[in-house]
């Protein structure tokens, strides 16, 4: 009796194979069609180029690229966390603490860039691990856990040197994370691209990505399908911490010092970038390229508002309004 039905199913399944390029696009875009993002980006570009003659210059775009790196790098990690139906508010503080750890390790243990890198990224990973364990083992909402670490990590960063910056002297460190270039690409932008590519591979090609989508899409069904939801989600927090650590290296290499009071309020930009980029706060939806575009929009917004000579308090107001409007506009 299954024959007529089975053959109907078989007829549907023998459709022509999509070509490689389309398959690639489909994998990276996750079936999303981010036209709204393009439109938002284009509108921003038009407004700012009309308002400021300097906006449309190569120098300024490199500027935007450089200014966006920190947000873009951290936003890759945040994409995993948000797809897993969690949030990480502590990224700015984690970045500050990781930067301090990197600089202190180099000045006290061994003045080599490797030590700094390990200390910075390692510290980020530890904060991420703490966020993950508290959220998943004690079942405290990640909003509260990371609100706590947002405060505690910042306090710790300020405490270790009694709020003083730590000077970095290693030239290789500056070159690798700040002033050098890789294949002609300035190091900070190269690191952004690297983080993005790793993010794409992990999220769209690795089973880790599949597990993250499942854990966020429906945690119960994921558990019933043998996904270790707690472990997978904790890994997403660790990844975000590590990327905050990497961003700390890039930032401190630019300023030749680590300061404990940097990037306050950065979590707003990062979360806004991820949500603009198409992630759902309810989990299970989002993609890395969207996040990258979301970061660029935030970066362009920051840059354009400065160019227009708007006072920094006013910038905050405008930015907040635009972000809420844009999210309201892009969400489905």
């Amino acid at each position: 009796m299954t024959d007529p039905i089975a053959s109907r199913g078989a007829a549907q399944s023998t459709r022509p194979q999509p070509d490689r390029l389309r398959e690639f696009a489909r994998t990276l875009l996750r079936g999303e069609r981010p036209y709204m993002l393009y439109i938002a980006f284009a509108i921003l570009l038009v407004i700012f180029s009309l308002a400021s003659p300097w906006f449309l210059s190569v120098d300024n775009f490199l500027n935007i690229g450089r200014q966006t790196t920190l947000v873009s790098i951290v936003a890759v990690g945040m994409t995993f966390v948000i797809i897993a139906r969690q949030i990480d508010l502590s990224v700015g503080s984690t970045l500050a603490l990781s930067g301090m750890a990197a600089a202190l390790a180099m000045s006290h243990i061994n003045n080599s860039w490797i030590v700094g890198a390990i200390a910075g990224v390692g510290t980020g990973a530890l904060v991420g691990l703490l966020n993950g364990l508290l959220t998943m083992r004690l079942a405290i909402p990640s909003f509260l856990v990371t609100l706590g670490t947002l405060s505690a990590a910042r306090g710790l960063a300020l405490m270790v040197t009694n709020t003083k910056p730590v000077i970095i002297t290693d030239e290789t460190y500056f070159s690798i994370f700040g002033e050098g270039s890789f294949l002609g690409i300035p190091a900070p932008i190269a690191w952004t691209l690297a983080a993005t590519i790793v993010g794409i591979l992990l999220l769209h090609y690795n089973i880790f990505g599949r597990r993250i989508y499942a854990a966020g899409g429906n945690p119960t069904a994921a558990l019933y399908s043998g996904i270790q939801v707690r472990r997978v989600t904790t890994l997403a927090f660790i990844l975000t911490g590590m990327l905050a650590g990497l961003a700390a290296l890039v930032l401190s290499a630019r300023s030749h010092a680590a300061r404990p009071d940097v990037v306050e309020g950065m979590e707003l930009d990062v979360i806004a970038a991820v949500i603009l980029g198409g992630c759902s706060l309810f989990g299970g939806r989002g993609f890395i390229l969207g996040t990258l575009l979301g970061s660029l929009i935030i970066g362009t917004l920051n840059n354009g508002l400065v160019l227009l000579g708007i006072s920094s308090p006013m910038q905050l107001v405008i930015k907040g309004a635009i972000i809420v409007a844009a999210v309201a506009f892009t969400k489905r």
Binding site: M1, T2, P4, I5, A6, R8, G9, A10, Q12, S13, R15, E23, R26, T27, G31, Y205, N206, I207, F208, G209, R210, R211, Y213, A214, G217, N218, T220, A221, A222, L223, Y224, S225, G226, I227, Q228, G284, R285
Partner: protein, 530 residues
Amino acid sequence: MSEPHPIAGAPSQAPLVRVEGITKSFGGVRALRGVNLEVRPGEVHALLGENGAGKSTLIKILSGVHTHDSGSIEIAGNKVAFDTPAKARDAGIAVVYQDLSLVESLSVGANLMLGREPRTRLGFLRKRQLMAEVEAFLKRHGIPLDPRVSVGSLPFAYRQMTEICKALMGDVRVLILDEPTSALTGDEEQILFDAIKTVTDRGVGVIYVTHRLNEVFRVSQRVTVFRDGSNVGTFTTAETDMKQLVAAIVGPGHAAMQAQETTSGRAERTPPAATDAGSSPGSPVLSLSNVSNDRLRHVDLTLLKGEIHGLAGLIGSGRTEILQTIFGLRRIETGDVAIDGETRQLRSPAEAIECGMALVPEDRHVQGLILEHSIERNLTLPRLAHFSRWGWVQQRASVQGARAAISRLAVRAPGPATPVKNLSGGNQQKVVFAKWSHPRPRVLLLDEPTVGVDVGAREEIYILVREAAKVGTGILVVSSDLGELLLLCDRISVVADGRISKTFKRGELGDAEELHHLIQLSQTADEQAA
């Protein structure tokens, strides 16, 4: 059988609800092509049809969720058109949906009185009065609910009962029940039917949507069948039979027609696996000895290779918990689980899956599927290791595997990329089954495998279960549908109060009524022992 004829001897009252020529399209899809329905005061009018026949669409139009394109609706002779659910409610139409709309953190009483709580002059809640009112109401209708218990802690059946009470408490003229018994046991069904009787005595008209035909004969006076968005016919229940209704539902020349014939001839079937020479029914694939935990008490159970073993019992008796314990979702406190004779630790679903366990859970929307995600992603989930190399997903293999599963299980879907939420209930359930089709599990645990599944898809699922047993998978089925257990199983164990009270071979049991009786007996024996 195209138009309802005036029925001889029927009460000659004016209809309470008259629906005429309703059409409704979603995009290009015509969900309703001009349907008619008439409900008299005090009548239970059953509405039948396969998934996608248009029953849900009509209900949503009657309850103001959707608006109709053309046609007319009259309530007690007044022409109405609801553009919001609130207006439908004001007109006295109450709907109990399959997915419930209760506030889980509040008590039963607070839920029932939500929005019309008795207050003091200063606006404070009169809690004692509220509880007293609710208690009086529940007592009057003989509904066994404690108004003080929070809804979140109740088993599904009682939540549904709360939902029905909520609908009954308002000034209701038309009560619409959408598959109300899909999760109820026999006893609870009787309570529901009594409650329906109470409201119809008050002159309320009831529209009763169901997949279970035997209920139609138990509660309804008339029955209307939809197929593909059109009326097939309206019958007086007393003048029709199962065969005629099935024929009307599935339409001419449908394969499920023959299937239903075998379903009706349940008792004559001989259990296949026990007599099947191909499998070796002697060797146990799974055995539980003296397993206890928070919900189970000294459970002993042996599942043979190729055996279909049923677990019968009331809701809350521990049937589901036995499956959950085997699947690593509940910690075992004492006792052993052995798989193929080897004692194994099952501390998480991941470990259970590794040992060859597979679970088709009770609630496919919450536990079985990620609705927003594609068929392919859902299918790959429990077997990611099989579809990856060094942690990298083999996307081609995964898509091809999904295509193969879609055609093998005859899932009606455009392709593997289709989100599961776009599929009908039966097809969603097939996707849940397909998650576990390869590699072949040693033990397949099925929890209410055909709830909310239409007649045709149900039979296809039975075939899948039997095929799995034929190749040697041991199958443990929990079902509230006793006929289903008798139809499928080689052995049936009765579960009561967290333990297995007795196990029967299929041949030792007669019909569903007898099994029902045994369940009741084991329950009362248990209460005496306690």
